[in-house]
C-alpha cells in the first residue's frame, strides 16, 4: 500500500521541520568551524568563504586536542576490547553453560546497568586514590569495564540463549571442548551481536564525562569530552575554534553511527527493552 501524493506531502513537511530542528544547530556548528573569527560574526548560517582547516589545526595543536584524542582512543580501545571479551565469557556462562546460582547472579549483574555513575563515583575515586592510580588512564579504564560488563553480559547471554542447542550439541559430539565450541562454532555466528556491543560500548566510553572529569587532574591525561569542556571555559567567545574542537570530539561517534547504523539502533532499542 502506498500513500496518495496528497497525504504524503503534509507528512513530509512535518518530518522535514522536525528534522531541521535537529540538523540546523549541528550544521551551524559545523560550518562555523571553517570560518575566520570575523566571518563567524557575519551570520550563523552563512557559508565560509573558503573551507579553511586553520581552526582545526589550532585546536589540534594549541588546544592539545591531539593529546586528548590519543587518550580517548587508548581508553576506548582498552574498554571495548576487555569488556567485549569478558562479556562474551560471562554471557556464555549464563546463556549456555551449567552455572549454579544463575538465578541470583544474573540480577546481581543487572543492577550495574541501572545505577548511575554518580552512585559509584565517590568510592571509585577513593579506591583509585588509595592505590595511587588517579591521574592515570587506568582510573578511567577499569571502572568503565566494570560498568560495561553489566550490559555486555546481558546482551551476550541473550544471544547464546537463543542460539540453537543442536549446534553446541553437535560440536560436543564431534569432540569440541566448551572453549573450542565458543570460539570456533559460536563466535563466528555471534558477529552481529558482537558488532552491536562494540559500537555501543565504544560510544558510551568515548562520550563518558563525569568519571574522566573527576579521576584526572593532569591536563595531559584528559579525554576529549573533558578537554572540550575546559577548552570551552577558556575560549568561550571564539566560536569557530570551539566548533572545531566540538567536531573533533563528535566526528568519530557520528562516523561509526552512520556506518553501523543498523547495529546501533538495534542495540539501543534492544538494550533499552531488555535493561
Amino acid at each position: 500500500m502506498k500513500y496518495p501524493w496528497k497525504k504524503l506531502l503534509p507528512r513530509y513537511l512535518i518530518l522535514i521541520v522536525f528534522m531541521l530542528v535537529v540538523l540546523v544547530p549541528i550544521w551551524g556548528m559545523f560550518t562555523s568551524a571553517f570560518k575566520t573569527s570575523t566571518e563567524v560574526m557575519g551570520g550563523p548560517f552563512s557559508l565560509p568563504s573558503d573551507w579553511s582547516l586553520a581552526n582545526f589545526e589550532q585546536a589540534w595543536r594549541v588546544g592539545r586536542f591531539s593529546v586528548f584524542f590519543k587518550n580517548s582512543v587508548i581508553v576506548a580501545a582498552a574498554v571495548v576490547i576487555s569488556s567485549v571479551f569478558l562479556s562474551t565469557l560471562s554471557g556464555y556462562a549464563f546463556g549456555a553453560l551449567p552455572l549454579p546460582g544463575k538465578n541470583w547472579l544474573y540480577p546481581l549483574i543487572l543492577i550495574g546497568y541501572m545505577v548511575p555513575f554518580e552512585a559509584v563515583i565517590i568510592p571509585l575515586y577513593n579506591l583509585m586514590d588509595s592505590v595511587g592510580i588517579t591521574d592515570t588512564l587506568w582510573a578511567l579504564i577499569l571502572p568503565q569495564v566494570g560498568l560495561s560488563i553489566s550490559f555486555g553480559t546481558m546482551w551476550m547471554a541473550s544471544f547464546f540463549e537463543n542460539t540453537p542447542r543442536e549446534l553446541t550439541d553437535a560440536a560436543t559430539i564431534d569432540g569440541c571442548s566448551r572453549w573450542q565450541t565458543l570460539w570456533y562454532i559460536l563466535w563466528p555466528i555471534a558477529r552481529p551481536a558482537v558488532t552491536t556491543l562494540v559500537v555501543l560500548i565504544f560510544m558510551w566510553t568515548w562520550n563518558e564525562f563525569l568519571l574522566a572529569l573527576v579521576m584526572v587532574q593532569n591536563e595531559a591525561l584528559r579525554t576529549l569530552p573533558v578537554g572540550l569542556a575546559f577548552f570551552q571555559g577558556k575560549y568561550t567567545a571564539n566560536i569557530s575554534l570551539m566548533a572545531a574542537g566540538a567536531i573533533i570530539v563528535a566526528l568519530p561517534t557520528i562516523l561509526i553511527y552512520v556506518l553501523f547504523q543498523r547495529f546501533f539502533i538495534r542495540g539501543m532499542l534492544g538494550g533499552a527493552v531488555k535493561g
Binding site: G28, L89, S90, V115, P123, L142, N207, L228
Partner: protein, 301 residues
C-alpha cells in the same frame, strides 16, 4: 533465565563459573562494591582526606530532607522529566503516527538524522546549544531580532526564569528522535487486522491511534519512559557545560549537587547520601515502570 541445566554428561556443574569469574570480579570490584560503599559512607561524616570518619547515623539524611538546595535540585530534575521525557514521548508518538504502518519513501534518511543527537557527546551538545542560546551572536537571538522581537532576545542561559526551560529544551532536542525510532519499531508488531477491523467499524485515524496504536506500543512507551526519565534524573554533563547549575541555583540538579558536595565542598558523607537517594529513586522508577510493562504484556497475552 530459562531453567535448563545446560549440563553435558560427565561435565562439572561448576563449568560456567570459570567463564563468569573474570567478569564477575571486575564487576564486583569496580561497580557493585562501590555501590555498597556509597551507601555505607552516607552514614558517616568525612572530608575525604583525614583518617577519622565519624559515624553519624541518619544525620546526613535528616539534613538532606530539610536542605532547601536539595529540594530545589529535585524540583529541577522533575521539571527536566517533563522536557526530557513527557514532551519527547508526545512528539515521538506524533511523528511515528505520521508514518504509521506504511513507511514513506526516503524514510531511512529522516530516521538517520532524527536519531543523530543520541550519539553525540553531551559536552558537544552543550557547546552547540550554548552557541545557539548566546545572547549576542547566538542564532536564536539573531533570528528574534530579525523578526522584530528584540524584547525576547534575552540571555537565555543566564536568566533566572528561562535558564531551566532552555536547558530542558536541549534535552527535548536530544530525546525526541530516539522516541520516534523506538515507537516506529514497535508499530511493526501491531497486527494489521486490528486496523482493518477498526476502519470497518468506522473508526477514524485519530481513534485508531488512541485505541490501537497507543495500547499496542505500551511496552515501547514503558521503555521510552524508563530511559528518558533516568536521563532527566541523572543529568550532569549537560548542566556542567551549559550553566553549571546557575544562575544562582536555578538549574542546579541532583547529579551536580553530588559532584559539588563531594569534590568541591569535601563533604563525602553528605554527597553519598544524595547519591544513595538518587540511585534509590532511579531503581524504584525503573522497577515500577517495568512491572507496569510486564502487566501489559501478560494482559494482552
Amino acid at each position: 533465565m530459562a531453567h535448563v541445566t545446560n549440563k553435558y554428561p560427565g561435565e562439572s556443574r561448576w563449568k560456567g563459573l570459570w567463564y563468569l569469574l573474570p567478569a564477575l570480579l571486575v564487576y564486583l570490584l569496580f561497580t557493585f562494591l562501590p555501590i555498597l560503599e556509597t551507601i555505607r559512607s552516607s552514614f558517616y561524616q568525612w572530608d575525604g582526606f583525614s583518617q577519622n570518619r565519624t559515624w553519624i547515623g541518619l544525620a546526613n539524611y535528616v539534613e538532606l530532607f530539610t536542605d532547601p538546595k536539595f529540594h530545589n535540585a529535585i524540583r529541577n530534575n522533575l521539571v527536566f522529566v517533563i522536557f526530557f521525557s513527557i514532551i519527547p514521548i508526545l512528539i515521538g508518538l506524533f511523528l511515528a503516527s505520521l508514518l504509521s504502518r506504511r513507511p514513506i519513501p526516503g524514510f531511512a534518511f529522516f530516521r538517520t538524522a532524527l536519531f543523530l543527537p543520541q550519539v553525540i557527546s553531551m559536552v558537544v551538545v552543550g557547546v552547540i546549544w550554548r552557541w545557539m542560546f548566546n545572547p549576542t551572536f547566538g542564532p536564536i537571538n539573531i533570528f528574534l531580532r530579525q523578526i522584530g522581537l528584540d524584547v525576547f532576545a534575552i540571555s537565555w542561559l543566564g536568566d533566572f526564569t528561562w535558564a531551566l526551560p532552555a536547558v530542558g529544551s536541549i534535552g527535548t532536542w536530544v530525546q525526541y528522535g530516539f522516541c520516534m525510532v523506538l515507537f516506529l519499531a514497535g508499530m511493526q508488531h501491531i497486527q494489521e487486522e486490528y486496523y482493518e477491523a477498526a476502519s470497518l467499524d468506522g473508526a477514524n485515524a485519530f481513534q485508531q491511534f488512541i485505541h490501537i496504536t497507543v495500547p499496542g506500543l505500551r511496552s515501547e512507551i514503558a521503555v521510552a519512559l524508563v530511559t528518558t526519565i533516568i536521563a532527566a534524573l541523572r543529568v550532569f554533563d549537560l548542566v556542567y557545560t551549559t550553566t553549571r547549575g546557575g544562575p544562582g541555583e536555578s538549574t542546579m540538579v541532583t547529579g551536580f549537587l553530588i559532584y559539588r558536595a563531594a569534590f568541591t565542598n569535601n563533604r563525602i558523607g553528605y554527597a553519598a547520601a544524595i547519591a544513595t537517594i538518587l540511585t534509590l529513586i532511579i531503581l524504584i522508577i525503573s522497577l515500577f515502570i517495568r512491572r507496569f510493562q510486564r502487566q501489559g504484556v501478560e494482559e494482552s497475552a
